[in-house]
């Protein structure tokens, strides 16, 4: 693999270029935005870096060497004005730069970067107190990094997952390891960055997502969306993947490959989720993954258990510009009592229908709707947090990672296939997260029970039962 050249009798090299390229597989175009061609050329002549093709065309398959895409429909070709030939390029990772037949991947082959220096003490500045189950998980995770054991942390929504990771991250930092926390969701990256920077004030941390300005090539701790991992190769000694079952990570094999590719072969993997999928649980059964299960929330109160209510053929009702009866009955007292309300909708079209019905019924209630393509999404969520909006309609994009104090949650048309078991469990997990208001109503409004609805309810009930058995709920001790 990489050869270490001793410094004597060797031509000089740019330390910044080495820092940029260490553990990475950048496209030539990406390097060119930071270093002139001439600098890259001299390093190449001196053997400090090598070029590798980014697209490999074999007999029957084309392969992108950056994102490992092999799906023919995700490649295209055109006459290229640079090389004057027909170039094939990858459309799967194009929003991270264009990998094409005539653009190479640049890799560092020169002297390796010295190990990270240990951050100045105290590495971890955090004065909070971990709950009993958090403490248990925290110790296990430190051991996992010591013994390099891959681990799945299955923790209920609102268990305080980030805090559980603190000790383990601190241990990895002091043992000079490079750490990555990856998550499929950019909102999570944005939320984690300030929290971690505060807890690890002496550590260099970077946050990577499309359009991020918190890049720092010298960072020892990287927080990134999983897409950003296409740019890395054998970089991280500890790879933590948060919300491992969330879209698009769960649906896109190339992202899983990217995560595998970005870590060093003998690194520690830690997966964190409230709703592990079958594949994950099978790996646990086979003994490939250590399993840490947290069934209680950090505040020690049980998870709100969802109730279900029939709303009949809601499509017809909405077309008549009316709300289903039971839904209206649920909604009215809550609007009157000024409770913040979060309503999950199956699609944008019916969301807009309900929005206009609600607006015509009550002009005083402040309401808004958000979906993935909404440019005002962040702003509206913030307004909801500040209680400037009382009622927020949303598609499944807000199923994870958001906390609104005192919120009451409804799922409209819960029978739709978009509401899978894990989506419903995550949605129910939005309620009662605040330790001062640990309860909150969760209701699934449906036109017929589905397996997902039944399983989601059972899932939550099971968690509460197990938490009670383990003696982790507040009421048990008193």
């Amino acid at each position: 693999m990489q050869t270490v050249v001793t410094s004597l009798n060797c031509p000089p090299f740019s330390n910044e270029l080495r820092t940029l390229l260490t553990g990475k597989q950048l496209l030539q175009d990406e390097v060119l935005t930071k270093f002139p061609q001439q600098v890259i050329d001299t390093h190449h002549q001196n053997g400090y870096l090598i070029y590798e093709p980014s697209i490999i065309i074999e007999k029957h398959t084309t392969r992108c060497m950056r994102c490992h895409n092999t799906q023919n429909s995700l490649f295209a070709k055109h006459h290229c004005a640079r090389c004057q030939k027909i170039c094939t390029y990858c459309r799967n990772c194009i929003n991270m730069g264009k990998a094409s037949s005539c653009s190479s991947i640049v890799k560092w082959m020169g002297p390796q970067k010295p190990r990270y220096s240990i951050p100045t003490q105290p590495v971890l500045i955090w004065t909070g107190i971990l709950s009993k189950p958090q403490q248990h998980a925290s110790q296990k995770l430190v051991q996992a990094i010591q013994t390099k054991t891959s681990t799945l942390v299955h923790a209920v929504c609102g268990a305080g997952k980030t805090e559980m990771l603190f000790e383990a991250i601190a241990y990895a930092l002091t043992s000079q390891q490079r750490i990555c926390i990856a998550t499929p969701r950019r909102d999570v990256v944005k939320e984690l960055y300030p929290r971690l920077q505060q807890a690890f004030a002496t550590t260099k941390i970077e946050a990577l997502y499309g359009g991020s300005d918190q890049r720092n090539d010298e960072a020892q701790l990287t927080i990134a969306t999983t897409h950003q991992l296409y740019r890395y190769r054998h970089a991280f000694d500890v790879m933590i993947i948060d919300e491992v079952d969330a879209f698009p990570f769960s649906a896109d094999d190339t992202l899983m490959q990217a995560a595998e590719n970005a870590r060093t072969p003998d690194s520690t993997r830690i997966f964190v989720t409230a709703t592990p999928n079958k594949g994950m649980m099978q790996s646990v059964k086979k003994g490939e993954l250590q399993y840490i299960h947290i069934t209680a929330r950090y505040h020690g109160h049980p998870l709100p258990e969802p109730t279900t209510k029939w709303i009949g053929n809601w499509k017809k009702t909405l077309d008549r510009k009316r709300l289903p009866c039971s839904f209206q009955k649920w909604l009215e007292p809550r609007i009157k009592n000024q409770r913040p309300i979060l309503i999950f909708m199956p699609d944008i079209e019916s969301m807009h229908k309900i929005e206009s019905i609600l607006q015509s019924k009550s002009t005083t209630t402040k309401l808004a709707s958000v979906h993935a393509q909404d440019p005002d999404r962040t702003h509206k969520v913030q307004q909801m947090r500040n209680s400037e909006i009382q009622l927020l309609l949303t598609t499944t994009i807000l199923e994870r990672g958001v906390t609104f104090s005192k919120v009451e949650v409804a799922v409209f048309a819960a029978e739709k296939t978009i509401f899978t078991e894990s989506a419903l469990v995550q949605i129910a997990g939005r309620a009662g997260r605040d330790q001062h208001h640990p309860t909150g109503d969760v209701t699934f409004f449906h036109f017929g029970h589905t397996k997902a609805i039944i399983k989601a309810r059972q899932h939550i009930q099971r968690m509460n039962r197990e938490a009670k058995k383990g003696g982790w709920l507040k009421g048990d001790n008193q």
């Binding site: 640079r82 264009k98 393509q373």
Partner: protein, 229 residues
């Protein structure tokens, strides 16, 4: 099975009996993506620049200003556009030009052919060129790509020699109106009528500069078709 060029979702075309005899050309994009684009209603536009208006009008505010311009007043006969410029088209053009996703060009092929058919007759189709540096950076000319993917024969009549430091999209309206004409042509186009192709009509400056150069070379009439307006 085909995939949507924009969102990559698989598409299942609705088969009908007619397909047995005359196989239909598959749509390049799915219905969901198509619904985010706003095709221009050619009965409710400014007939000079194709800006969508409440009702058909001979010239919009901007075109009246252009008609008083000392040099460029009568250069452009008319412009027609495929779609009105909204957030979805903006994102799509960004992906096409700046992310350099060439395949996006084929989303517009069908509509491009339809709109070119309603244009008055022309002799030569020609794309707005890029200067050499930009062409090398981008690896293809987006206007030319539109023509290639739409299977339309064209000639390269123009060359471009402006500076590469600022993109047109980064300039203010004022900058655009006062920039010098960057286009040149080595062709003699006596009495020919030309149809120009570009990705966007924003202020109309680029198109009018190109049209002016073509008219200087003898062209009788210059019209244009753009994807966005």
């Amino acid at each position: 099975m085909s995939h949507c060029i924009i969102c990559h979702d698989p598409m299942f075309p609705q088969l009908s009996w007619r397909d047995l005899f005359t196989p239909s050309i598959p749509e390049p994009i799915c219905e969901k993506c198509a619904s985010t684009l706003r095709p221009i209603d050619h009965n409710r536009i400014c007939t000079t620049c194709s800006r969508p208006l409440a009702e058909k009008s001979y010239a919009c505010h901007d075109c009246i200003t252009w008609s008083k311009h000392p040099t460029y007043s009568t250069t452009l006969d008319q412009n027609r556009a495929l779609y009105s410029y909204n957030d979805s088209l903006k994102a799509l053009i960004k992906r096409f030009k700046y992310d350099r996703d060439y395949a996006i060009a084929s989303c517009f092929s069908k509509k491009m052919n339809e709109v070119i058919k309603i244009m008055p007759s022309y002799d030569i189709l020609t794309p707005i060129p890029l200067n050499e540096q930009r062409l090398r950076d981008r690896s293809f000319n987006q206007s030319e790509a539109l023509l290639i993917e739409a299977n339309l024969p064209y000639e390269l009549l123009l060359t471009r020699t402006d500076d590469t430091t600022t993109r047109q999209a980064k300039k203010s309206k004022r900058d655009r109106h006062t920039t010098e004409n960057p286009f040149e042509t080595a062709h003699h186009l006596a009495t020919k009528s030309i149809l120009l192709i570009d990705d966007l009509y924003t202020t109309g400056t680029t198109i009018r500069h190109a049209a002016y150069t073509l008219k200087q070379a003898g062209a009788a009439k210059v019209s244009s078709v753009t994807v966005g307006r």
